[in-house]
């Protein structure tokens, strides 16, 4: 039985790097709930897996913890006209297996990542073509003017053409899958290389000595071991007993206790994910009111009543123990197009809510089933239970249906819901992403997660324009207008940004920089 997934690119490189694992003493052990899905950078679009890719693979542009962009494999870039960009590539860069990095690799990577079966195709969907001008310059043409191209570059992973062709691994096998070569083996230009991956057990990484950024390396790790631990309490125990040096997420209720521990510190900060509630705008008859021929949610006053019924501060203080930032917008600060002044949440005003309900003709409310996940977002089930209490207080007869995420997402995708909770992190860190996926239905490829099928003609039109306006000023104006209409419409009710909570051993770890997307990038870890 062959050891699953031997990850070093080739035996040759093994001889080169004299350092073997056990000689070092600086080992960084960290853990989260689930294992990575695979190593094919053009597949497995999921949080922890994407961060692992950024440890191993180079991209033209890298996103820093403060969300600003920094040169990676491309040293400079400029836009020659509305749809053409010229990127100058870094010279003297080698892949983990020693192959040199050239423009051909960029072209090959574009062709591979834009395949139909690639999970990451969305990030470069606006690119028309990529061709090499010479060994170290590349021209990228977009189908239409794309203001968010640079923002999407950190999701465009560069693989080694020779290595892939040698192992005939061009084709991206759809769905998470290890049996193909690309998903089991990694050969990037990133600061770390994979030594071993035993699925659901551990991933072992070591620094890549010939990394182009070796001299300004910010981390001092000799070996990193990533082990998934599903059960929260067990993961907390593993941190307390010192078997692991860092872990996330820390259950909110355990934060005070961990902060009390002398050799453990808890890093907290807002996550880019926005938690919100959505209505069924589409059906003529609400699922829970058979034969009534009415859908109360079609009336904006009912939606506004729901918005006023929610005590966001109460949820923040009690359910989230202060670790959440109530929001009024569908995007979090730091996302391109965020408008600070519009971020004022709907005020908590139960009386106003009951007045609105009466005005809309439902003085004593109506029955509705509230669909929630119970193992996806932080304290999701507790939030929904608290919500039920608040809605019942204004007369709505709520039946809570809290289910595991696979069952919950199933209902969401099938639009089989009247009132639901969902969370969204814009993949491209740009405001157009939620507009396209959550707040519109008409444009091609839009409304994937718009379960309530909210659609406002003006917002639809604005969304299309936003995707094509290159000028930043004008684009922000359009975004602002779209969000204003959506807010007036109460298309969705944004709740809050949930907080990240990372538990780190103070006695072994000097510092870990926390980024608003919830995963540890080994570059920013320094051990004692």
């Amino acid at each position: 039985m062959t050891r699953p997934g031997l990850l070093l690119a080739s035996a040759a490189l093994m001889a080169l790097t004299a350092a073997t694992a056990d000689a070092q003493d600086k080992v960084f052990r960290y853990s989260t709930t689930g294992d990575i899905l695979g190593l094919d950078p053009h597949n497995n679009n999921e949080g922890p897996t994407n961060t692992m890719k950024s440890n191993i693979y180079g991209r033209l542009i890298h996103r820093l913890p403060d969300l600003s962009l920094e040169p990676d494999l491309a040293t400079e870039w400029e836009r020659t006209d509305d749809t053409t960009w010229i990127f100058t590539l870094r010279e003297g860069v080698t892949f983990h297996n020693g192959n040199p990095f050239t423009a051909d690799d960029v072209v090959y990577s574009f062709e591979r990542q834009s395949q139909e079966s690639s999970d990451m195709a969305f990030a470069i969907s606006s690119i028309e073509s990529v061709n090499a001008i010479d060994d170290y310059t590349v021209e990228i043409k977009t189908k239409a003017p794309d203001p968010t191209l640079l923002l999407n570059m950190p999701n465009f992973y560069i693989v080694d053409k020779e290595f892939m062709d040698e192992n005939d691994a061009f084709e991206v096998i759809a769905g998470a899958g290890l049996q193909n070569f690309a998903n089991a083996n990694a050969n990037g230009t990133g600061p770390f290389r994979i030594v071993e991956w035993v699925q659901d057990n551990r991933v072992v990484l070591e620094p890549f000595e010939d990394w182009w950024g070796q001299d300004e390396r910010t981390d001092n790790i000799d070996q990193a071991i990533f082990t998934p631990i599903g059960n929260d309490a067990t993961r907390v125990a593993a941190l307390l007993s010192g078997e692991i040096d860092a872990m996330y997420p820390v259950p909110l209720q355990d934060i005070p206790r961990l902060e009390g521990e002398p050799d453990v510190t808890v890093l907290q900060g807002p996550e880019l994910r926005t938690i919100f509630f959505g209505f069924d705008h589409h059906r003529d008859e609400l699922l829970d009111m058979p034969g009534s021929g009415e859908n109360p949610f079609k009336d904006v006053r009912v939606r506004e009543a729901f918005a006023h019924a929610i005590d966001k501060e109460g949820i923040k203080r009690v359910v989230m123990r202060g670790a959440a930032t109530p929001t009024g917008l569908m995007v979090a600060p730091g996302i391109n197009g965020f408008q600070e002044d519009m971020n004022e949440p709907y005020p908590f005003d139960p009386e106003r809510a009951q007045e609105l309900l009466a005005e809309a003709g439902y003085p004593d409310g109506f029955p509705v089933t509230f669909d929630c996940p119970n193992d996806r977002y932080v304290n999701d089930e507790a939030i929904c239970t608290a919500m039920v209490a608040m809605l019942e207080r204004i007369g709505i007869d709520v039946t809570l249906n809290a289910q595991t995420k696979s069952l919950h997402f199933n209902k969401i995708r099938d639009h089989d819901t009247s009132f639901f909770m969902l969370g969204w992190t814009p993949g491209s860190y740009d405001a157009h992403n939620p507009l396209q996926n959550l707040m519109t239905t008409e444009a091609p490829g839009s409304g994937a997660w718009n379960s309530g099928r909210y659609s406002n003609p003006e917002v639809e039109e604005l969304s299309v324009q936003i995707s094509q306006t290159v000028d930043e000023e004008a684009r922000n104006e359009l975004i602002r207008e779209a969000f204003r209409i959506h807010k007036e419409d109460v298309g969705h009710i944004p709740l809050h940004q949930q907080a990240l909570a990372w538990g780190v051993r103070a006695d072994t770890v000097e510092e870990v920089i926390q980024r608003p997307f919830n995963d540890i990038d080994l570059r920013y870890v320094t051990l004692k």
């Binding site: 355990d254 005070p256 359910v319 089933t369 089930e381 507790a382 209490a389 019942e392 809570l400 919950h408």
Partner: protein, 323 residues
């Protein structure tokens, strides 16, 4: 042949009342009740079980707060420690949980669901299991093979999958509203489905042994109907192990209910059962709010302890050979 005149004076049939009081009097000074009086442990267990049942049935009147009236919950009351702990509040004797529910009332209401689902589930499982066990043990042949193979098929599926399937079917068959109502029924069926096999196999094992005993063969020889044989002869000898499993299965049933509820198949989390209270509280156990899981846990332990001790006494008392 001299016919023997037997004029026997039949006593007038006693009225129902007399017969009933007669039975009660006979029971009271019978040996079963005597062994009950003698062991203090059993008395305590009996009293505790009755109290728990009483609370479950009359929950709305017994519990200080109506935790199922969701609107009444006030989020600001959440995480209050028990009254005697610093920061505790006398109105919430055992403190409050993450939704501001008074833990004591939540336990009483939770008890109602857990007891109902637990007892019904175990009862159905016991009846179905024992009958099938008797039949398969007694008749043997292809019936036995069929029943045992059904058991194998059913044993394969963890309760979780069974519940999901039954809930799915219920969802497809019943309308949306009826489906919500059917949650409890789905739970009971799922739990019964996952427990009956224990009873069936044990009863079958014992029936196999009893079947070879002469008294059963004798009964068979004189043509007593097999069902009567099983009922009157084999069943009493099998009650011992069945009672053991029944009382133990109650604990499993209550915990299974919590797992199923977590999967969204059981009772909604807005009116939590005892098992669900423990599950939710479990996350807070070591983060300072220990009372959220400890008190429901203690309640469950007391319930299971009382029921099992009662079960032990009943089994020993009912078994003629053991007295």
């Amino acid at each position: 042949m001299q016919n023997i005149e037997t004029t026997v004076e039949l006593p007038a049939a006693p009225s129902f009342g007399a017969r009933l009081s007669g039975n009660i009097k006979a029971f009271l000074d019978g040996d079963v009740f005597y062994s009950f009086k003698r062991s203090p442990v059993t008395i305590i267990a009996f009293v505790v079980t009755m109290i728990l049942f009483f609370c479950a049935i009359f929950a709305p009147w017994v519990a200080p707060y109506d935790t199922y009236n969701i609107a009444g919950l006030n989020l600001m009351d959440a995480f209050r420690p028990p009254a005697w702990v610093a920061g505790g509040d006398a109105t919430f004797l055992l403190g409050t949980d993450d939704q501001g529910r008074d833990v004591l009332s939540a336990i009483i209401f939770g008890l109602r669901i857990s007891l109902m689902v637990g007892f019904l589930g175990v009862l159905i499982a016991a009846v179905v299991g024992t009958i099938l066990g008797l039949i398969s043990g007694y008749f043997g042949g292809w019936i036995d093979a069929l029943i045992m193979r059904i058991a194998d098929v059913q044993l394969t599926f963890p309760a979780i999958l069974i519940a999901l399937m039954i809930d799915g079917i219920a969802g497809a068959v019943l309308g949306r509203a009826a489906h919500a109502e059917s949650k409890l029924a789905v739970l009971v069926i799922a739990i019964a489905a996952s427990l009956w096999v224990n009873f069936a196999r044990t009863v079958r094992g014992s029936t196999l042994v009893e079947k070879n005993k002469e008294y059963v063969q004798a009964a068979r020889v004189i043509g007593i109907h097999p069902i009567l044989i099983m009922y009157r002869h084999v069943l009493p000898n099998v009650m011992g192990p069945v009672l053991v499993i029944a009382t133990l299965s109650l604990a499993i049933a209550i915990i299974t209910e919590a797992t199923l509820s977590f999967l969204g198949v059981g009772v909604p989390v807005t009116n939590p059962s005892l098992g669900t209270l423990i599950r939710i509280g479990n996350d807070f156990l070591f983060s300072g709010e220990w009372w959220m899981t400890i008190f429901p846990g203690v309640a469950l332990v007391i319930l299971v302890l009382a029921v099992n001790l009662l079960g032990d006494w009943l089994r020993d008392a009912l078994n003629p050979k053991l007295r």
